[in-house]
Amino acid sequence: MFGQGLLKGLEITWGRLFGKKHTVNYPYKRIEMFPRFHGRFQLDVDKCIACGLCVNACPNKVIEMEREKVGKKQFLTKYVMRIEYCLFCGLCVESCNRDALRFTNVIDMNQYRRKWVRLTLVDRPAPEAEETPEEAPAKAAKAEAAAGKAPDKEG
């Protein structure tokens, strides 16, 4: 019979009209994101050793990092993510050995102006060095030697 298919279609749509709802009233009710969700970034400053692995892992040069040497440690002074270029691929989070950089569940990163989009995770001055001046050069030389060795090992 011609029109049987049309009636079948109507039956399905009418059935759905009284069926379960699949949407939520969004701004008032929100679906919880999964734990692995790639939302806004979070940097645990105490864990970060300013090694710069995340900067190198990024395909789009999103991360801008500034560091200063304080005593024998690298001190992170600035960590800015140019989120407007971010692909949210997660390669930076994966590259972090110290588990310092992480994704959160925050989804609303929209801004009214383009210049507000940039995500500044750290912006602080470096503290005064406490070390005596005699010790510093020897330690710097050691650090340089270690840095020089590292690439052959990886290659």
Partner: protein, 364 residues
Amino acid sequence: MKTQTYYLNLGPQHPSTHGVFRIILELDGEVVVKATPVPGYLHRGIEKLAEARTYTQVIPYTDRMDYLAAMLMNWGYVEAVEKLMGIEVPERAEYIRVIVGELSRIASHMIATGAYGADIGALTAFTYTFRDREYVIDLLEMVSGSRMTFSYFRIGGVAADFPEEFYPAVKKLLDQIPAMCDEYDGLITGNEIFQARTKFVGIIPPEVAVDYSLSGPVLRGSGVNYDLRKVRPYSVYDRFDFEVPLGKNGDCWDRFRIRIEEMRQSKRIIEQALEQMPEGPVLGKVPKVIKPPVGDAYAEIESSKGVYGCYVVSDGSPKPYRVHFRRPSFINLGYLGKLLEGWKIADVIAILGSIDIVLGEVDC
């Protein structure tokens, strides 16, 4: 009476072109005399961008080709690099790849089905398939953290193992898939108006399909039994029992119908993969800095649109010397100009929709 042909510009901004795609139609009244497809509006130069990235950093860019089945786009690329370096992928990672790949295929076919319904005039069907696709995407989000551009594959395996909550969720979805497909069949496939618009429209003869190197549902709609998962099984596809749905006439209706059948088959594959999945690591032994030896490799997989291939050339540095992608949508479009000749304007939309193109992939 003296008549003359005239030109009609379809697109680039037209909802039925599924993106930014232009067709210049030369018409005699309502009948197409000549059709000239003009792609390239979404060209971003991904192949060139890849030359300035390390091998791992290319993965997020492959997502942006066929963004409706991004997992499959990852797959072709990482397989080519693995072939180049001779990396052994752990078995569990292969199974995970099959599962997320088939889920991606289901999501992509859902869009193809719904969008084709919308092209023909059944806009209701579009909302139904998109609703169901959200549930598939939820699963992939659970696994990879993103809803569209997953970047989940890594050279030598995948980024992470499935979370615990994935297994019950995927089981629940797989149980619903036959009912979902039945719903699409009831809404669109069985509809007489839809059949009148698509049956015996835009017929591609099998020998022409082979000559033009068409692949995927477009080729199988013409009755050519060619599915890479069967004819040249890659990964672990030789361990699954599934059928390759084939069309009879090579018309729009066959191409459309096959996609719904493929969803049912994908469901079967995922069920078997979940059952057979072994324990073990998900990432093989991969050096920290990926530096393939000098040489080249070509790997291909069956994506949702057809045969997706990736060619990688290495000069021994950590960055690829050249990357080329064989995008099925682009090659399937090669026959469009000839195919449209002789059909009416309304059929142009029906034929273009049945090829199921994604412009991100066509223009790369």
